[in-house]
Symmetry: C2
Amino acid sequence: MTDLAERVLEGDPRAIARMITLVENNSDEAPELMSRLHKKTGRAQVIGVTGVMGAGKSTLITELALEYRRAGKTVGIVAIDPTSPFSGGALLGDRIRMMEVSTDPGIFIRSMGTRGMLGGLSGAVFDVVEIFDAAGKEIVIIETVGVGQAEVDIIKIADTTMVVLVPGLGDSIQAIKAGLMEIADIFVINKSDRPGFDLTMAELESLVELNVQAGRKRTPILGTNAKERGGIKELVEEIKKHYNELVSSGKLDDHRRMRYETELVEIVRKRLMNLIFDEAVFKDKVDSLVNKIEKKEMGPYAAAQEILSRVLK
Amino acid sequence: MTDLAERVLEGDPRAIARMITLVENNSDEAPELMSRLHKKTGRAQVIGVTGVMGAGKSTLITELALEYRRAGKTVGIVAIDPTSPFSGGALLGDRIRMMEVSTDPGIFIRSMGTRGMLGGLSGAVFDVVEIFDAAGKEIVIIETVGVGQAEVDIIKIADTTMVVLVPGLGDSIQAIKAGLMEIADIFVINKSDRPGFDLTMAELESLVELNVQAGRKRTPILGTNAKERGGIKELVEEIKKHYNELVSSGKLDDHRRMRYETELVEIVRKRLMNLIFDEAVFKDKVDSLVNKIEKKEMGPYAAAQEILSRVLK
């Protein structure tokens, strides 16, 4: 075990997998190993991909990964999504394509659930990004799905966030209106061969235009047809352009600080919650407080105060 | 302010709105007021409604609420969903219908975002349910959207959880496969007039059948056409049946204990996070630790340990 960090740094896939399992299981060994890995991080470019279900994100990510491979770059993919092909929801055709990808030693794929009591992005996602980074993956892609906290949180990890839509799904544009507008660095309309592409493009363009008139940045919109590899090269170019702007403007450092702060908050949260709600001595106390709440002898806030006064200095 | 709790207990809509604002803003007055309200809770029947975007959940909830009103019951609705009509994403027709509902003093509607650092269900949802309950709302309906932590968490608050699908959206069935199967007490296929209804019903029936063969409960499936009020009476009957089973089997108490425990955890989490990351004295410490992480002088885990050793006994 002593050399696990070493082996991760060498890019050994089995060591990477083992290390991820350790952090997912909150292993006691994880913190020290992660500290050693952290020293070697900061080089990976992190790309977030989000959007509604059925937008073809997994195919798009597969093609993106293959394009980066053709440019000689290594890729780590983490899919945070209960319905992702990576985690078991794929149609047969998708699966076959995924397998092509996953036999390439230059691509490492890991899927994760949205764990945690009151979830959003699992804290282990930060660790996985650090592990990929330390293992020398030049590109790290994070996939999430839906409209929720996980999608808003993705900008705290990713350097560049892509929001993926499809033609004809009225939902897509609604989702954008509902908050994904702000988080997108790049919009992608996938399945560009579908009817309704022009209309969706026009709707999105007018949303972007409104945004520009409000004094915000003009978010680029790209059409892709991932299944036919259409528009993938252009997308890689657009991501590169965004990343270069981040670097030259100094905003990349802000991004990274935000990621570290979010990760720090998440580790502290997890530790405190484990301490209070998982360790036997407190568990009994929590049970007896829940009893009192149930019997109306005490409200939830007063019960919480009792726990806090026990643990805090 | 002293009589705010009193006024909530009397069901005064302005007092309810004010009380919800206090808990959303983490007001110092909230805990004591909530403790007083808690003593008067436990009577409301809590119904959770979740499902993919575009399934017509808001229309369905509106019709459900109106049906309960016709039976003389008062209703509280909380929509946790950035794209809900209740919170601004509605088409014009939906809005008009909503307004009909919201001018009825027997129905109180509140929408909430998915707040919180690493979100899922906002902790304030628990408070809103308690406030509605204390204010004498006999039916409390919680709406969430998508497939994510918030949807899995809904079963921790709701006595009865409904999962809403629509015909023809392949996504729906995928979502079910991906985890909503387990949380559904009742399946609803809305927009039953749409093409593909029979197919979706057949697919869902075979999923339920597989579940039954695996020794689990047979989850009922209902077709509704909420826009035409179709199937609403039958749905109310099915919800009643499920609730009565909970009561007679004693499982309602388990549900309530789970809700209280989740709420307790959430309050403790929020308090600790506020203490560490929002109060000025710690904020400086956090900033300096983030600096050290950025310079690779320290890993995130070691930084977290420094914070913990400062706050914990």
